[in-house]
Symmetry: C2
Subunit: 303 residues, 2 copies
């Protein structure tokens, strides 16, 4: 009997979502950061849900306010990836009965503070007792119809860009600020052809754009904007960065740089595959393409 760890996450999601189709009020069903639903004449409704687990997405001894912060931040980052504006949020948690009321307050403080900062209203949720901390959020947002940015519009010749430096996801994943304003700026200035937020790693998440757009791509190792102290080879596969990865038409090159964003590669034809090129012009093969949720080893640390 085939086990999940033999399959990996993406084949599983593909299998399970095979019957999910767009149409009849649904503009985008699966295969992107958010579902897109019809809403007002000028706007779409964006909808995303995320679930975080103790020992997987955060450690047991992480500050509770940071856990709350992250639970909402990952969903806001999905809204950002579609160039949308988050509006409402629901929170669902499983809390150990032995947890203190003060601990729970801190979790909710983390959520509330981030919600306030992004103008998001918390409108309900679900609270249960469970042996480990499990916390999720579901967020509704809106995007103007002409602002909606999907993963499927990249074309050969387009430039691959990043909104900021990467490589320290392990340190910043509990405190990062979702790039909602940055995404709106990218849309306004650069008309991106595709966009995604970096959750599993630059290489892995570009693969998602490539698959949805039916293209290939070259990422130039030398051009990756790694934060100080991190090798570019590590930045390439570093997960939970939550910067925006996007593609633009070649004519936008100067504007990308002027706006303070980074060029990291170029979109190619699908048959050319996805390659990372080192500074000698040779293909570089990373030890792993990025994060896979279903693997056999017992992990003791998140990411």
């Amino acid at each position: 009997m085939t086990k999940l760890w033999q399959w990996g996450e993406f084949p599983l999601i593909k299998l399970l979502t095979k019957g999910f189709k767009a149409g009849n009020g649904v503009v985008v069903s699966v295969g992107d950061d958010c579902a897109v639903l019809t809403y007002t004449p000028k706007e779409y409704l964006l909808w995303t849900s995320d679930l975080l687990f103790e020992g997987v997405h955060f450690l047991k001894d992480a500050p509770p306010s940071a856990i709350g912060h992250k639970a909402l931040a990952v969903s806001l980052s999905d809204i950002a990836a579609m160039a949308g504006k988050p509006l409402y949020c629901q929170v669902f948690v499983g809390l150990p009965s032995s947890a203190s009321v003060a601990y729970c307050r801190e979790i909710y403080r983390g959520i509330s503070q981030l919600a306030k900062r992004y103008g998001v209203k918390i409108v309900g949720g679900d609270t249960n007792a469970f042996e480990k901390l499990v916390i999720g959020t579901t967020v509704l947002g809106v995007v103007e119809k002409d602002y909606l940015t999907l993963r499927n519009g990249a074309a050969p010749g387009d430039l691959i860009c990043l909104s900021g430096k990467i490589g320290k996801g392990k340190e910043t994943h509990l405190s990062f600020l979702p790039k909602v304003k940055e995404a709106r700026k990218i849309k306004r200035l650069l008309c991106p052809t595709a966009m995604i937020d970096l959750s599993d790693g630059l290489l892995s998440d570009f693969t998602r754009i490539a698959e949805e757009s039916h293209v290939g791509g070259r990422i130039f190792l030398e051009q990756i904007p790694a934060v100080a102290g991190v090798k570019k080879e590590e930045a390439l596969i570093s997960g939970e960065e939550f910067e925006l990865l996007f593609t633009v038409k070649p004519k936008m090159r100067k504007k990308v740089l002027k706006a303070g964003f980074f060029l990291v590669g170029e979109v190619t034809k699908r048959k050319d595959g996805i390659k990372t090129i080192d500074n000698k012009g040779k293909p570089f093969l990373p030890p792993s393409p990025g994060y896979n949720h279903f693997k056999r080893e017992k992990r003791n640390k998140p990411l």
Copy 2:
């Protein structure tokens, strides 16, 4: 340091949701089955989220399709409780890496079949690896503005009614069908002043209506429609029934009975409190008012 099990579920929810307010697109924020948001000129958007845990809401060896069924059914039941129509659903799961692909397919088959039956489209979600099975859904629905039924409209003199027989929640909680059509019928025929779906038990859930409506109530033990083989005393506190508990104006008495629903009590003034009356006209005190998620004992069985 106060622990959650010393507090119970409702004081916790009250504390944590203190700052959540209606206004600016939010018609109802917390304190009801769903959040209610502005939507079209004639309709509101309904939004609810539920999270189920292995060992709490279902046993490890429960049929996977039944687990999937329940995960969606509890959210659809929340939409029913507001007299709404469910439209869209997202599913988030934590799955053990050792689970078989066939097992996951069965979970999703349970969800998909129920979704199809109720005309609900599955539009995304989140999939993670976790040591135990955790599964949640978030559902969006609509309700005509004049159909919206909240928990807060019950008034002294109103009749307390039930949509069906209760008492076997322990057996039916994995297979029940949410009362969406029944709720629409109740709204159309009986103009209920308040409504809720029975998740924690008749007595406990009536208490929620009473609190939101600032009223008291008398439940007549003799009138409780217990299923065959169940004592009325047990039916009073039996959880996960998912029938609809609603209140109507006294003039509706005949219509309630003609429509096949059950009368179980009457709404009183708040100062009279909430009482269960036995067949000798004396107050009956149940061993517990209903289900409390946060309690100290380790439980081995769901509910």
